[in-house]
Point group: C2
Chain length 433, copies 2
């Protein structure tokens, strides 16, 4: 499963070939190591440590669910300006695990901070005392199972021993693989840009939408840059770009207790620190960041369970951006629309249904619906040019685009989703054990 | 497909056996006739006329979609105190059909009112002049296709010729069958009650949730009583009871442009006209009406496409009824919950996820979750008594009940839904032609 994205990922780095995978290489100030704590009983890597030897500025966005996992609570509680390590585990979401889950993270944070402080002393280069508040966690997997703290703790010395100060494409691949649950493909993206005259790298990895064993599609996204940007500006950049990227995707309309997107900046590119969101030097960085986030988000959708089609839903000329988003997701989350697309059926009546139930304002006399470039509805009526055969032919594409003009304002929104196949039901109705 | 409901339909008429079908018989003041206009090219009945020879008081609730079908627009435009006829057609939803669709109804209303006026003169009993405003329509089927006005119009004389003044169970069955699209079972329900000392009948038929050819699950529900109740009181009774019945069901979270529930009262039971909603004599009628509506609504869910389980989701002790409803539907509409139930998997982590994403207030330290009588979560923690094997055994039932106490207030709501099977995807991704 998983759709080949190479034809429709975008990059602003003009001369770089976009393939299924992008090769991430060295990014100064970050070290990655992976290990198996045998959480799946298969010896696959299930722990990934990101280590920032001089610390990193950072910003996060978390799930909007009212029930949040223990690691999200931990992350929210740490008041610090620098992160020294992010530890991600799979197989156990540490959600609905109560005190045991939270105290486990305290134990792990103590172990990690002690071991990293020891390492820094040994290396004699970075004699910083690392504290538990400098450590954050990403967890994904099953909800409600006891958190396997001992198994994880016992592997921390090995994780730290494996740390190397130069990264290559293999270690990034291992990291992207190590955070997967039942994803079928690792998800990586990168961009180069400049801040002023300084060359900057932005790398990202993500996971999401495999749900056979874990209980839901946790999305984890981690973005790394060598730019020097303050926490406040990182936070504003992340919030701004998450709306049109990770918050613009939907596989099945369900929301995890563990969703987490974090950006880290190591500052090693040595640009003059950016402390103001209106700084004009951010222009290219902002665009490149959006591309990295959008590419990662698209990779999550394209690996959606059972997906056979990648669907882009563009809403134009809505009254407010909120209403444009409502319409886009009313379509993206409709089982009837998604099953029709799986069946390659240009069943536009279901689009009309989804438009109606969205509750948003629609100018019925002027609205239009296009599948790709083919007009279905024009000025509120079935287009004279509409030809079902031609449209049915269009539906055979893997990449389906719906362009919907609701003619009630001037705001737009684009959502990304996948189709709904028998395979999805098969995967999600299989008994866990 | 379709689940046998006989074990869990409720009736307040104690000594009446509840079977798969309830036998509706004569209800004074109403005549039914059916005919095939060959709209499906299979000669099945596709037109059903309900004729109230002395007129009927009535009240309706319609779809909340922003895009409504032409017949709903027609019905909303008729300012009248009495309805003489309801004509229901299948195969064509008369939605997104524009002026052609609306003018077709004008043509049909003229034909029906002329023919019925003629009939009344011939019968010499009810010399009322019937007008177009006394006629309403129910339509269900495909969206956006030209409305087949000529085919329907040509059958009106035959429909009227078929009218008999005594009804029996066969004609009710024909009516329930005649309004079906791809439903697999006709849906009927009945109750007897009293208003003061007068014996009253309440009969109802409904259709919903077959969607192979039509584009969505239009719900149509028609309720008939011989009680004498004013339009204003009928309206209040219908609005009040629709919340916990037809508005408490969900098959796949999609909303039709054609949904319509109407109640008609012929007054032939000759109770003293009820003109006040607070009239204490309404107590039994109100309960019986709710039972009829709930039974019809449950029959719609149980005939949901591909359904193999009937799921009742009871939310207790929520802050507001609105929040209780939000939680219930967050669970009822979750693809992950519905596929887990299809797989007979007691995957309670997905319930936690759906609770969290509902956005409603939940007391995490006191909440509880029961599947049937089996405690899963008690006081916010996995119950000591939880036994996965026993729970997995429970999931093999056709009728699954979830009892969820969110411990944040004192309001309750119950929703009804079905599971999500491969069959659903198969039905809805089949190309229409």
């Amino acid at each position: 499963m998983g759709i080949n994205l190479s034809n429709f990922l975008t990059s602003q780095s003009k001369n770089r070939k976009m393939g299924e995978f992008q090769d991430l290489d060295h990014l100064d100030g970050i070290s990655i190591s992976t290990v198996s704590a045998n959480l799946y009983n298969t010896n696959r890597d299930d722990l990934v440590m990101f280590y920032f030897r001089e610390g990193a500025n950072f910003a996060s966005v978390y799930t909007q669910s009212k029930i949040i996992s223990e690691n999200i609570k931990w992350n929210l509680n740490q008041k610090t300006k620098k992160i020294f390590s992010l530890l991600v585990n799979t197989r156990n979401a540490n959600s609905f695990t109560g005190d045991q889950g939270y105290q486990s993270l305290q134990i792990l944070a103590e172990e990690i901070s002690n071991e990293l402080t020891k390492k820094q002393k040994e290396d004699e280069e970075y004699p910083e005392k690392i504290k538990t508040k400098n450590i954050i966690f990403g967890c994904t997997g099953t909800i409600g199972e006891k958190f396997p703290v001992e198994k994880i703790k016992s592997k921390i010395p090995e994780l730290i021993k494996n740390i190397r100060y130069t990264q290559n494409k293999y270690i990034w691949m291992k990291a992207a693989l190590g955070i997967m649950t039942t994803d079928t493909q690792p998800k990586m993206a990168m961009e180069h840009c400049t801040i002023g005259t300084t060359q900057i790298k932005i790398y990202g990895i993500a996971k999401g939408s495999g749900m056979i064993y874990p209980n839901m599609a946790t999305t984890l996204g981690y973005i790394f840059t060598d730019a020097d940007i303050s926490n406040d500006v990182l936070n504003k950049l992340l919030k701004k770009n998450v709306e049109s990227t990770f918050n613009a995707i939907s596989c099945d309309g369900d929301t995890s207790t563990n969703d987490m997107i974090t950006i880290f900046s190591t500052g090693k590119a040595k640009n003059k620190t950016i402390v103001n969101i209106s700084d004009k030097k951010l222009k290219y960085f902002n665009e490149a960041l959006k591309n990295v986030m959008l590419n990662l988000a698209k990779r999550v959708v394209s690996d959606g369970e059972g997906a056979s089609k990648f669907i882009t839903i563009k809403i134009f000329k809505s009254k407010t951006e909120q209403e444009a988003k409502q319409i886009a997701f009313s379509i993206a989350n409709s089982s009837l629309v998604k099953t029709a697309i799986a069946g390659e059926d240009p069943n536009w009546g279901r689009i009309i249904m989804a438009l109606g139930k969205s509750g948003a304002e629609i100018n019925l006399k002027k609205m239009s619906i296009k599948f790709g470039d083919i007009y279905i509805i024009k000025n509120g009526k079935l287009s004279n040019q509409y030809n079902e055969k031609e449209t049915a032919q269009y539906m055979k594409n893997i990449n389906i685009e719906m362009n919907i003009n609701v003619a009630s304002g001037n705001k737009n929104f684009t959502a990304y989703t996948m189709d709904f196949t028998k395979k999805y039901v098969e995967i999600n109705s299989d008994y866990r054990s």
